[in-house]
């Protein structure tokens, strides 16, 4: 068997794949966080809860409406996004004139309430969600065996990240969004409905989290706690990458996922904290973050 630094190649590649999968979710979630922060100047603490909500909607659609994975992949983000837009309209829109910390606190409370409710109804244990028929099985890549579903998650999340980036950089809507980020008052003077844009943006961010949740459902179990475990790591990812650039958030997500995977091979005890350690080191060397602009 081939060995790399005293570790079997198979184990190394296996953990790197796990890292890449985790990294895909970090990237998707920090992408949504960065979009919301860019325009609303709010750190969406409920992002983890919305990710969990996406997974649960998929689970409930299957259990009560018989709608499978592919249907859920469209419906769940739509539902989570609409719920997000409603929250923005009813509550977040009242907080824009205040210190941005109030937005963080509000969404923190929202996350607690959502997670608490789901725990009350469904308990803390995870519910299994089957891999869709078309993506079961695995293929042999010669150097390793890749389960089809995991390959799909990596490809799909990359595609979503690239598509979102293109939508923001190349389309007219994206141009409005970027302009409103720079100077909302001026954009409003040009006749763009900025409040609607804000609502839409928050909905979009929430929908991205919901989409990540549906994709995560077959890999991790569908559990009320799945969101709070991941959101703090994603915060660290965002601190490392800086929220100045969307591309930065995505690249950092994948990179830190891979670092986590590598740590699992060489020093498993530290795999839980490696991302936080990297965050601390980045803060020491480059406080603005790898891709951040200095404030």
């Amino acid at each position: 068997m081939t060995m790399v630094f005293g570790v079997p190649l198979q184990a190394l590649l296996g953990q790197l794949l796990v890292g890449l999968i985790n990294g895909s979710f970090y990237a998707l979630l920090s992408l949504g966080l960065a979009i919301i922060f860019g325009l609303l100047r709010i750190i969406n603490f409920a992002h983890g809860a919305q990710y969990m909500l996406g997974a649960f909607v998929a689970y409930l659609l299957l259990a009560y409406a018989g709608i499978g994975y592919w249907g859920a992949l469209i419906l769940a983000p739509l539902i989570v996004g609409l719920a997000g837009a409603a929250i923005e309209r009813l509550a977040l829109s009242r907080l824009y004139d205040l210190d941005p910390l109030y937005g963080l606190l509000f969404t923190f409370g929202l996350a607690l309430a959502i997670e608490g409710s789901f725990r009350y109804v469904y308990g803390s244990a995870g519910q299994p969600y089957a891999v869709p028929q078309a993506l079961t099985g695995a293929r042999n890549l010669g150097f390793m065996v890749l389960p089809n579903y995991r390959g799909w998650v990596v490809v799909a999340s990359l595609a979503i990240c690239v598509a979102t980036w293109l939508a923001i950089e190349k389309t007219k809507f994206g141009a409005y969004l970027r302009a409103a980020t720079e100077n909302p008052t001026l954009v409003r003077a040009f006749g763009v409905n900025v409040p609607l844009l804000l609502t839409f943006t928050y909905g979009l961010g929430a929908a991205l989290a919901g989409l990540a949740g549906v994709m995560a459902a077959p890999i991790y179990q569908v559990s009320p706690l799945m969101g709070s475990n991941i959101i703090i790591v994603v915060f660290a990812v965002v601190v490392v990458g800086g929220m100045g650039s969307i591309l930065g958030a995505v690249v950092t997500g994948y990179m830190l996922g891979l670092c986590e995977g590598l740590t699992k091979v060489f020093y498993p005890e530290a795999s839980n904290i490696v991302i936080f350690v990297i965050m601390a080191i980045v803060l020491l060397i480059r406080p603005a973050g790898l891709f951040g602009r200095t404030a």
Binding site: L105, A113, I273, A280
Partner: protein, 326 residues
């Protein structure tokens, strides 16, 4: 208005302040005979914790989302020192406070490199890192926590297993902590913190070394949070992961927000409300997380000044304070 015209008003408000403190002391002395003493001690620990947190948020304007690390960390250090090393309670508490201060120095040093919302996220992430450390380290006993911590004899003389002696000890620690916080906020140091909160750039331009003041405030706040956590470990005779988790960091924010950010007694009132609510909910099977989450949302939307802040904003409150509350 001239100084002479101001003087009597200031004198009156000082008189009222003394009266309020006297009422507080009487309440503190009577409480253990009226309410279950353990509950009052728990309340005092959380009140001190919230007041320590408020020192940072209310006066320096820094929102730490990781204060549970100092509270729960000190609980672990004290529990370990008292149980494994056989130290007396007051030395055990000192070990806890020293540990929390060291932890605060490390976390603060990294966190003050960024401002505002990033500061909150960094403290949260570093506290979570400490949580995972506590989960895996040998001396914390993982999921079990440190159980059966002896209360021991204060200064080797006073037996803290006597409920009233323990209560007296907690009350003295609480009062000492509150006096320390009051002194800090009223000192020139506290004034500089407020100026940094109001306008960081101007403070910098006036030649104030903003970073070191923030760090000093952070360490003081961590030390006082540690004092609360260390005392709590002695009261309940255990230290567990609950006290270092992010939920606890959130809870102390809620206590402060609910009571009134930037006021002296706000955090105490907030801690009383939250602790009483949790005690009440513990008997039903309704999860407290939902209530806490909803309380958070309501506070942020409609009640940002908190109970004490709203009271002070009324005409009666303004007269009582004798001046515009900052």
């Amino acid at each position: 208005m001239t100084d002479a015209a101001l003087a009597p008003a200031a004198g009156r408000s000082k008189g009222r302040g003394v009266a309020l403190i006297a009422v507080g002391l009487v309440l503190l002395a009577v409480a253990p005979f009226v309410v279950y003493p353990i509950f009052v001690m728990k309340l005092l620990c959380f009140a001190l914790f919230a007041a320590a947190f408020n020192l940072l948020l209310g006066y320096a304007g820094l929102l730490s989302f990781g204060h549970a690390a100092f509270f729960g960390g000190a609980a672990y250090f004290t529990a370990h020192a008292v149980k494994e090393w056989g130290l007396t309670p007051e030395l055990g508490v000192l070990v806890g406070v020293a540990g929390a201060s060291a932890l605060g120095l490390a976390v603060g040093f990294l966190a003050i490199r960024r401002q505002g919302i990033y500061f909150a996220m960094i403290t949260l992430a570093l506290a979570q890192m400490f949580f995972f450390f506590c989960l895996q380290a040998k001396f914390t006993h993982g999921e079990d926590g440190i159980q059966g911590v002896p209360r021991g004899h204060l200064f080797g003389v006073i037996d803290l297993n006597q409920p009233l002696a323990m209560y007296g000890f907690v009350a003295v620690v609480f009062l000492a902590g509150m006096v320390a916080i009051h002194r800090i906020t009223e000192s020139p140091f506290g004034m500089i913190l407020k100026s940094i909160r109001e306008n960081e750039r101007r403070a910098t331009s006036l030649g104030i070394s903003v970073g070191s003041y923030k760090l000093a405030a952070f360490v003081m706040s961590a030390a006082l949070a540690g004092l609360a956590g260390a005392t709590k470990a002695l009261v309940f005779q255990f230290a567990t992961l609950t006290d270092v988790g992010w939920q606890m960091s959130g809870e102390v924010i809620l206590m402060t927000l609910l009571g009134g950010i930037g006021t002296m007694i706000g955090p105490v009132v907030g801690a009383a409300i939250v602790t009483a609510l949790e005690n009440y909910l513990a008997t039903s099977d309704f999860p407290p997380t939902i209530v806490i989450g909803v309380a958070f949302m309501l506070c942020v939307l409609a009640f940002r000044r908190g109970v004490v802040g709203e009271l002070l904003a009324t005409r009666w409150g303004k007269r009582l304070a004798g001046r515009g509350e900052d």
